[in-house]
């Protein structure tokens, strides 16, 4: 049986960076297994620019960003299997995959990095009301049809949810000649990046209906009408506020969910982000199995995916070389105003200089402090003008700040 030092599952931006980092940190037998016929993952269908601002100081398109990493693979010993899907892994790190060239294969790995990306929340998951019709589809699927297959899914479009993909698609479909009649967002604030609201909606005069949701979808075989309605603080309909739009398409951009069917089957401890619980090296509850990228928690910027994956690659290389120490874990707690923190735990002995914590707030805040504490001791306090749930925050702490640390919590202090 083939044995690798590290097998990376998923060849998107996370998988690519993780594999390269493992290689740069001294591993040689590295394999990337990717389901699609090319590397790059979701980046391949993101033909808009806005990638790489932090990593390359440039505004690249998705495929361009991916290509920078794909090019680097050339001079390495990293092996790649495309069109190959991993269906199962065992606790002893046996990996089962299949493709149309080798059939059903079983390989062994000393370590595994899960970089399987995310899926979109579906009409079913949000219990969308109304008829089940064609013409209701998620934004990422509509994006794939448009940017990869070359087809527009409709001419008159309404969008539910202000997630970034929906916003990007509002602009993209408008440029392709479709009419986007509006975007409804159930929350009183947008769930997309501020720059996307400005560049994708405002610049095209597409109305954003905050505190609104779709109450009904009507039609016979295909969408004919969408009825939206305002909601109160408890998300109950405010009857009488209904507006009806004659459209042929309803696009949903209502959130992304880490996709971890393989990890779930394996019985790895999962967190509220629907990704695995990980430590400072992105190691999961099973030793030697790491997770990063959108499979761990959904990122809005690819640059942070890359950085996270590099750390996971480094972690895997240290694990393989036996350099990871078995120290005591300190838990990170999300308190007031913080939705989640990654990593959920850390071991001081395995931190070189600093550690980055990533988190999202539960709702928008203005003029507040982010407070990081060890019990009663304030480690750091950071003033923030704006905090939005749609924008992932990150804070790095160095070892000296964490000296003698026994617990760690992050919370929002309002004045």
């Amino acid at each position: 049986m083939q044995e690798y030092e590290v097998v990376v599952i998923g060849g998107g931006s996370a998988g690519l960076a993780a594999a390269l980092s493992a290689y740069e940190n001294g591993l040689n037998k590295i394999l990337i297994i990717e389901k699609n016929s090319s590397l790059g993952g979701i980046l391949n269908q993101c033909i808009h620019t806005g990638f790489g601002i932090h990593v390359f100081n440039e505004q690249l398109s998705g495929p361009e960003y991916a290509q920078r990493f794909i090019d680097k693979l050339d001079n390495t010993s990293i092996e790649i299997k495309l069109n190959s899907y991993v269906t199962k892994i065992d606790k002893d790190k046996t990996i089962y995959y299949s493709n149309d060239a080798e059939g059903f294969q079983v390989i062994k790995a000393k370590s595994i990095i899960m970089a399987t990306g995310c899926i979109e929340r579906t009409p079913g998951a949000i219990k969308l009301e109304g008829e089940r019709l064609s013409g209701i589809l998620t934004a990422g699927l509509a994006q794939r049809y448009l940017n990869i297959e070359g087809y527009l899914v409709g001419k008159k479009v309404f969008i539910l949810g202000s997630g970034d993909i929906g916003l990007i698609m509002a602009r993209r479909m408008t440029l392709e000649g479709a009419k986007v009649l509006g975007v409804a967002e159930i929350m009183p604030y947008s769930n997309g990046l501020r720059r996307n609201i400005a560049q994708c909606l405002e610049d095209f005069n597409i109305p954003l209906y905050l505190s609104h949701t779709v109450k009904e979808v009507k039609g016979k075989d295909h969408v004919e009408q969408v009825v939206i309605c305002q909601v109160d603080e408890n998300k109950n309909y405010i009857l009488g506020s209904e507006k009806t739009f004659d459209v042929d398409t309803l696009i949903l951009s209502v959130g992304l969910l880490p996709y971890n069917n393989v990890l779930e089957d394996l019985g790895v401890q999962m967190s509220s982000t629907k990704g695995a619980v990980v430590d400072e090296n992105y190691q999961t509850s099973i030793e030697g199995i790491f997770a990063c990228g959108n499979a761990l928690h959904v990122h809005d910027l690819v640059d942070y995916v890359t950085k996270e994956a590099m750390q996971a690659g480094l972690g895997a290389s240290r694990y393989v070389k036996g350099l990871l120490k078995h120290g005591k874990y300190i838990e990170t707690k999300n308190k007031n105003g913080i939705n989640y923190v990654v990593p959920q735990k850390f071991c001081l002995q395995n931190i070189d200089k600093e550690i980055m914590f990533k988190f999202r707030v539960t709702k928008p805040f203005q003029n507040v402090k982010i407070l990081i504490q060890d019990g009663d001791r304030t480690i750091k306090s950071i003033k923030k003008m704006f905090l939005l749930p749609s924008e992932m925050e990150n804070i790095s702490l160095n070892l000296s700040e964490l000296k003698d640390c026994k617990s760690l919590s992050i919370e929002i202090m309002e004045d």
Partner: protein, 474 residues
């Protein structure tokens, strides 16, 4: 060509009628308005093979339910359909309901169904998830669950293999009788017509007869939960029927998912819409039985329409017009009864209209379907040696390979739409609901049928997915 029998409607009743008739030397045609078989009530129901304790004694419902239930092991073996006798528990929460259970036990006895009343402690042993306030339950071992999609599809595949003709997208709206022959939609001539048009059976009847019954449409809404690793309910859990209705059920499905529902509300005959208010009500009722239902695992909600007849029992008889047979008002337990209904119609009614001689080469079995996900590694490797396409996984959530899709397309009742493919192989039925694989599945269908991708429909003929090619792609 003149057909011996024309069947209107390819729901489960039409599919089993076609299969039952296909054993004989008859020319049979099935006319279905939708782009697939089993596209109405037969695909949106609780998928329970009822034991038969519930229908009132001496009704057709009682008789055919019990007969039908007994036929499932053999039929599902022949037709390669998932079926499992997991048993049902009807739960009572107070003394009055316990009394009702005793009445149902007596009814079960009269109907010839083996049941047993269990105490809370006994129930807890076999079904640990039920709430503590359960007083007793009626346990029916013979109740089962079935894959209703493939029950229809495989029955029709088998019928077609044995010579039946299926015409899809043919909405029957005109029937005239001339010289003892029926002419349907000015196109199809037949000696005998069977009306099994589900919710529309009254309208079809009225094309040739005076109105003798009405079909009322009653909607039932459900939650579908994903399959997950943790333990959950293992039996079909019912509530004790009351004057308020039958109540909701919680049940595993043959694919490891869970159904919670249905509601019951009168509607028009077109709307299969769902609404949160009703679904909240369904959840409240279901929580009475099990309070730890993982609703966050919901992957879909849906509604089905019951064809409730004004006569309150199945209508299975020759109509006032000679050789025109109504099989109408087939509401629950219609799925369970369907094989017995087909047998009854053929043996008791059609046998008096047409000579029935058996075909020599009739084969009751279909070729087994390969399910890569369920094979051992060695078996998978063998399949790969036969066809490399078994190695390419198209649907990730349900792990369905290209080879399986191609096999399905080569069958005699193949999928023409994304939804038809989903019903057959579960492609796009999982957690991502096709978000990840629909584009690939659509490409496979377009390639197979040699059409442009935009000609592949989601379901019926007007349900396009792709509207137009973009500027750059002409």
């Amino acid at each position: 060509m003149t057909y011996d029998v024309a069947i209107i409607g390819a729901g489960i009743v039409g599919c089993f009628l076609a299969r039952e008739l296909s054993q004989y030397n008859l020319n049979v045609i099935v006319l279905e308005k939708d782009n697939d078989v089993g596209n109405e009530a037969s695909m949106a129901n609780s998928a329970i093979v009822h034991s038969g304790y519930d229908p009132i004694e001496n009704t057709l419902k009682a008789k055919l339910n019990v007969l039908g239930n007994a036929m499932f092991d053999k039929i599902c073996e022949e037709l390669d359909v998932k079926f499992s006798r997991i048993g049902s528990l009807t739960l009572a929460f107070n003394e009055k309901e316990v009394e009702t259970l005793k009445m149902l036990q007596q009814r079960a006895f009269n109907n010839g169904v083996d049941v047993e009343i269990l105490t809370y402690e006994q129930i807890k042993q076999i079904e640990p998830f039920v709430n503590e306030n359960v007083k007793a339950g009626l346990y029916a071992k013979t109740a089962g669950i079935v894959d209703p999609f493939n029950l229809c599809i495989h029955a029709m595949e088998n019928a077609i293999d044995n010579g039946v003709t299926l015409i899809l997208n043919e909405n029957i709206n005109k029937i005239i009788k001339e010289n003892d022959l029926f002419i349907l939609n000015n196109k199809y001539q037949s000696k005998v017509v069977i009306n099994c048009a589900g919710i529309n059976a009254d309208e079809i009847n009225n094309l040739v007869n005076k109105e003798t019954f009405k079909i009322i449409s009653r909607k039932g809404q459900y939650y579908v939960l994903n399959h997950f690793k943790d333990e959950f309910v293992k039996h079909t859990l019912f509530m004790v029927p009351s004057d308020k209705g039958k109540g909701v059920l919680i049940s595993p499905t043959t694919s490891g998912n869970y159904l919670i529902g249905p509601s019951a509300e009168e509607t028009n005959k077109f709307s299969k819409s769902t609404d949160l208010k009703t679904l909240d009500e369904v959840a409240k009722q279901a929580n009475l039985m099990v309070d730890k239902i993982p609703y966050y695992q919901t992957i879909r909600t849906f509604a089905g329409l019951r064809a409730t007849p004004s006569t309150h029992d199945f209508i299975i008889q020759e109509s006032d017009t000679k050789n025109f047979i109504n099989v109408a008002g087939i509401e629950s337990p219609g799925l369970t009864s369907s094989p017995a209904i087909a047998k009854m119609v053929v043996e008791e009614i059609i046998s008096k209209m047409l000579p029935l001689t058996k075909k020599e080469n009739y084969n009751p079995k279909i070729k087994k379907y390969i399910k890569i996900k369920e094979l051992t590694l060695d078996e998978k490797k063998k399949m790969f040696a036969i066809d490399k396409d078994y190695g390419t996984i198209i649907c990730k959530c349900e792990q369905v390979s290209l080879g399986e899709i191609k096999d399905c397309l080569s069958r005699s009742c193949p999928p023409h739409s994304i939804k038809a493919l989903k019903k057959r192989l579960r492609v796009g039925f999982g957690k991502c609901q096709g978000g990840m694989c629909q584009a690939e599945a659509l490409s496979v269908l377009a390639k197979f049928y040699k059409v442009d991708k935009k000609d592949i429909m989601y379901d019926n003929l007007n349900s396009y997915i792709l509207y137009s090619k973009t500027k750059g792609e002409n």
